[in-house]
């Protein structure tokens, strides 16, 4: 179903972090940006579609104060809003927002880091762009910061802090089907596997809480009202977000899942884990009849690699890319 394509070399190897690959497809310029986090920097590579041009850029985490120790980056993700695209980078020190090509930093938000380290680590993790002009970022305390993003310029403001989760935020995702009819448009996940379902607005509204069973949810997506969550046990669960009804449970991987992604136009689902496997599934979701079906389509094994990031490169799922711990390349697969 898929075959391996030429890999893209990156300047540093990928660190073992959840969802450690972000992809932004820029059709008008016929190129795709990829970002991969290595310790305290983000490797960005822009690949032209003809495969002839690769430009590299590295972004360092911001050090507000040189005397402090290295600030490790937890995640980098592209945020696509109606008026603009931004690259958001979250670290132990705070949140940086860049123009999507990484050229200029437009916003910096510092986290409250204590003078001496506490037992509970402090960091930001979990990034989502939410309808209509919000960027949400999770924090290790469980709080979710909601930023209001103007269509131009750097006048980004912190609009709200959502305090519902009690454990560190791991990932979050907004509704990606493009449908405006979905009631819920954000799902957030934490270290205890708990999912919160929200409706965005001037004041975000909590629609539902789906309990975890003390098993961390490391990656989550929302499509056609269905929350698709990958867990540390290797399971993937599909919940109807607003009601919390469990529609499907997959014993998908033999190790901790690090990434799930959805191709919204085709309903393809991608999952990747520490077990070296990337799996492709197909979901058929009919919200009107409340029916959800999942079928397994394909496996790819990245030998001797613990995968940390996997994303579709386009909305149909025609191609996907993978990163692995200690690997200095982005491996690509294309449908045969």
């Amino acid at each position: 179903m898929y075959h391996k394509e030429k890999s893209i070399q990156i300047k540093n190897s990928a660190s073992a972090l959840y969802n450690n690959l972000s992809v932004l497809r820029i059709a008008p310029r016929r190129l795709t940006h990829f970002t991969v986090v290595h310790a305290n920097m983000v490797n960005m590579v822009s690949a032209s579609w003809d495969g002839l041009n690769y430009t590299h850029r590295q972004l360092q985490s911001k050090e507000p104060n040189v005397a402090t120790s290295t600030s490790l980056i937890m995640q980098a993700a592209f945020c696509v809003l109606p008026s603009r695209d931004l690259l958001v980078v979250t670290s132990q020190k705070g949140i940086q927002m860049y123009e999507s090509d990484g050229s200029i930093m437009v916003y910096w938000h510092a986290l409250d880091t204590p003078e001496t380290p506490t037992a509970q680590a402090v960091f930001a993790r979990g990034i989502a762009a939410v309808y209509e002009n919000y960027i949400c970022v999770g924090v290790s305390s469980g709080a979710i910061l909601v930023f209001d993003v103007p269509s131009k310029g750097s006048n980004i403001t912190l609009s709200e802090v959502l305090e519902e989760h009690k454990e560190s935020i791991t990932d979050m995702a907004s509704e990606c089907s493009g449908s405006q009819e979905c009631i819920a448009n954000l799902v957030t996940a934490d270290d205890g596997g708990n999912l919160c379902v929200w409706k965005s607005g001037e004041e975000f509204q909590l629609l539902n809480k789906i309990p975890g069973f003390d098993m961390s949810c490391s990656s989550v997506k929302l499509w056609k009202g269905t929350a698709v969550a990958g867990y540390g046990t290797g399971q993937i669960r599909l919940y109807e977000a607003v009601t919390g009804i469990l529609h499907a449970e997959i014993n998908a991987h033999a190790r901790w899942i690090y990434s799930v992604d959805i191709a919204p136009f085709s309903g393809l689902l991608l999952s990747a884990a520490e077990d070296s496997l990337v799996r492709v599934w197909h979901m058929t979701i009919t919200p009107e009849t409340n029916s959800v079906e999942v079928a397994h389509l394909h496996n790819e094994c990245v030998t001797d690699t613990q995968i940390c990031g996997a994303r579709f490169c386009d909305g149909d799922g025609y191609a996907f890319a993978v990163t692995g711990y200690d690997l200095s390349e982005i491996i690509r697969y294309i449908q045969s």
């Binding site: 540093n12 680590a121 791991t170 003390d214 009804i245 999942v294 094994c301 200690d326």
Partner: protein, 394 residues
């Protein structure tokens, strides 16, 4: 990232160090007639070997040191940690020269990297730590005073770690993996056992028991709105997995189940590393720690504080000194030192000579704090000399 990582890093690396030293001490226990071939490396008698192990373990589990270690803090840099282990390795009458120390450190770190990567679940790193602790306890089982220090450490580990969630353990694991990033030194014993490839990367099998708490992959269950399962589908998982083994014990005593963290060396399976072909991989790993560290002075103060209160054995006469080597012959050892890629020799913290005066005063003050507490210790001036000598040597 996780501020609870350092104790696990230190204890596991320390455990590996003890396995290797124990093996080398036994291996160098050679009968007199064979000693002629390796004449500069004297044979070790059993009493000396036990004494070395006891001295190192006593230092490792020193009460004040452990108090500092268990405080929430970020991981030390690679250089700073290497310095701690250099000091630890020399906490006895044993002497290692640069090449042997480098090799010892490479082996320790690659072994623990392997264990961290192969742990089925992040929480199993604690079981690996207990395996190391169990072995350390066995090394000192005849010495009650050290034994009680070790038992105290078990209690601290249990108190700190057994209640952590799986997500917090994964954060610890991710922090450790950043520390080990890009290290691909080839280790003979791993290559022979086929757990490491010739490119230095570890083999990650897609077979064997799944972790405790995980199901064997291959099943999709679908449910109706009322919660009834209406169908199940099987799929090919591309591997050869079996159900999970029973969970290991997180108590002071018990069967840990996992073999990771147990002693893989024995007299008949000597320790070796291959240094060739690693230079291009190592270039990246040193980049992270290569930037001149403005904190070096601060880190050294903390280190000095940690080690400052500890008894330091005066090194014996260099010629007849109790030298241990990680190589079969002196020639091999020299050869290894010469051919070692520069980037891997990261055991040095650069400190400006001009800053010594101020630092000396601070160190003297810190030493003062320790001697006041009434610890048995050599005279202040000896300690001062030793610490300053350490700084000069850097």
């Amino acid at each position: 990232m996780s501020s609870r990582t350092l104790p696990l890093l230190f204890i596991n690396l320390g455990g590996e160090m003890l396995y290797i030293l124990d093996q080398r001490l036994r291996a160098q226990n050679i009968p007199a007639d064979k000693a002629k071939k390796v004449s500069t490396i004297p044979g070790w008698i059993e009493a000396d070997r036990k004494r070395v192990m006891n001295d190192i373990i006593t230092t490792m589990f020193n009460k004040k040191f452990l108090e500092e270690l268990f405080k929430p803090q970020e991981l030390y840099s690679k250089k700073a940690l290497r310095t701690v282990f250099d000091r630890l390795a020399h906490a006895s009458i044993m002497r290692l020269n640069q090449a042997s120390m480098d090799k010892l450190y490479d082996l320790m770190t690659m072994a623990f990297k392997y264990q961290v990567l192969l742990c089925p679940r992040p929480k199993d790193i604690l079981l690996v730590s207990f395996n190391h602790m169990d072995a350390i306890k066995d090394f000192v089982k005849d010495t009650p005073s050290i034994l009680s220090q070790v038992d105290e450490t078990y209690r601290q580990l249990i108190e700190m770690y057994t209640l952590l969630s799986s997500g917090e353990f994964q954060l610890i694991r991710q922090t450790l993996l950043i520390f080990f990033q890009d290290m691909h030194i080839r280790v003979s014993i791993f290559l022979k056992d086929k757990v490491q490839n010739s490119n230095g990367r570890f083999v990650l099998p897609t077979s064997g028991p799944v972790p405790h708490g995980t199901q064997v992959p291959g099943l999709i269950r679908m449910f109706s709105c009322t919660g009834e399962e209406f169908t199940r589908l099987k799929f090919n998982n591309g591997g050869n997995y079996t159900t999970a083994l029973r969970e290991g014990s997180f108590d002071i005593f018990g069967d840990r189940v996992t073999k990771l963290g147990t002693n893989m060396y024995s007299v008949s399976r000597p320790v070796e590393t291959h240094m060739s072909g690693t230079s291009k991989n190592s270039a990246q790993h040193t980049k992270v720690s290569a930037a001149p560290n403005p904190l070096a002075k601060e880190e050294l103060n903390l280190l000095a504080r940690l080690m400052g209160g500890l008894e330091v054995q005066k090194p014996g006469n260099a010629d007849t000194g109790f030298r241990i080597s990680l190589f079969a012959t002196d020639e091999e050892e020299e050869e290894a030192l010469i051919s070692r890629p520069d980037e891997l020799s990261c055991g040095v913290i650069n400190i400006q000579a001009t800053k010594d005066q101020q630092a000396n005063a601070e160190l003297a003050k810190i030493m003062g704090e320790f001697t006041e507490s009434g610890d048995q210790s050599p005279s202040v001036s000896n300690k001062g000399d030793d610490l300053l000598a350490m700084m000069d040597g850097l």
